[in-house]
Symmetry: C2
Subunit: 207 residues, 2 copies
DNA sequence: CCTGAATCCGAATATTGATTCGGATTCAGC
DNA sequence: GCTGAATCCGAATCAATATTCGGATTCAGG
């Protein structure tokens, strides 16, 4: 991993894990600049020196955390999509599952999304982990949805599907970041409206 | 204005304006923390001391900039909505105007949205100018749209209309902040898809 | 012009936090 | 055990900036 010095002993592997864990916990309610290396190290029961023994700098540390979190999320989506019950589900049910999954991810990783968005540069970095996540997620969904829509006589391009997802993701990111309402990340009817949007946008019967 | 010392002489009024102007220009490509008071003052041809003579601190300065920008945007929306041609327009045309207006605002104030979103706190401040802007804009749109939808036999609550707008705003904020694609802030077909979303969501014929 | 108040100047202060580095400690292999 | 390498420690370094403040300058009213 870029900016992470490979470990030769088990000790440093443990150090690495402890620091990552402390960093992820810190990111639950802090941004990149708000988290101080000293605090991270102390929380992990280590020293500043140990930190710099593992990571080239703070930036590399943040990137490593993002990479790990993103991989976990992608993996969980793959599992969810390969669920047999989901493949047999109706189109509306499938979209409901997509919405539900997305909401779950954003709720669980609220701080992570917050910190990542805050850290984005101007113009946005084309290879940030969050970007990759969004791209891969809507790609996986598109792969499932395209044949469904084709079968329904309403063929859609991959791009159109990604755009439908883009509206949903935008709303969720904005909910985390600015919480403008009326829908909030913890609203009971959030899923209902996300599904309504997806169904309307893709022209699927909204049951 | 909160944190802004009222001016007794024309001199300080000019200083105020010069600083605000320099700040707005700086915000085109910098965030709140990236802009240094010293640079702002220099760009305005003034000194750090002059800055602190007008503003209690950096925070108040940022707030003043936001207030001014938000007021301008609200004013321009009011003008647009009171346009006679718009009142006579079809429902789809009305939604197209709303989408077009929003896109224009985000394009023109891209840096401003970027900086404001970056500055939001966790949890988001309930009284930030951007929040107020979003709320007021969707309120004004709802006021126009509700009677239209009622006339069409598809009555919608104000909340539903705000939610439809929330999808659009979310996409735009996310486009500024993370630019995830496929739709980008400068895409030619951005308006087309925003309109499609609004029409689908509100059940208006999409011509 | 005079004068007190308003305003401006910019060097000095203060804080914060990332990063470095020399020395101590622990490991793995012999 | 012994030894060189890996790792860890944490005080010192370095840089960036918001903010303060004492003194200089400019205004507005008489």
């Amino acid at each position: 991993m870029r900016g992470v010095t490979p470990h030769q002993q088990a000790r440093s592997e443990a150090t690495f894990q402890a620091l990552i864990a402390a960093g992820r916990k810190a990111l639950e309610d802090k941004t990149f600049d708000q988290m101080a290396i000293g605090d991270i190290a102390r929380a992990a029961g280590l020293s500043v020196g140990a930190f710099y023994g593992r990571f080239e700098n703070k930036e590399a540390f943040f990137l490593a955390i993002q990479d790990i979190a993103v991989s976990e999320i992608e993996e969980s989506l793959r599992r969810r999509l390969s669920d047999a019950a989901l493949r047999a589900a109706s189109d509306a049910e499938f979209l409901a599952a997509v919405a539900g999954f997305s909401i779950g991810v954003f709720r669980k990783h609220r701080g992570f999304y917050f910190a990542s968005s805050k850290h984005s540069s101007m113009p946005p970095d084309r290879w940030s982990p969050v970007r990759r996540l969004g791209f891969n997620v809507s790609g996986l969904v598109a792969a499932e949805l395209m044949p469904r829509l084709a079968r329904l006589g309403r063929p859609a391009t991959e791009r159109e599907i990604r755009i439908g997802m883009q509206f949903m993701n935008g709303l969720l990111v904005n909910a985390v970041l600015n919480d403008p309402g009326p829908l909030r990340l913890d609203s009971r009817d959030l899923e209902r409206y996300l599904v309504r949007h997806l169904c309307c946008f893709f022209g699927i019967d909204h049951e």
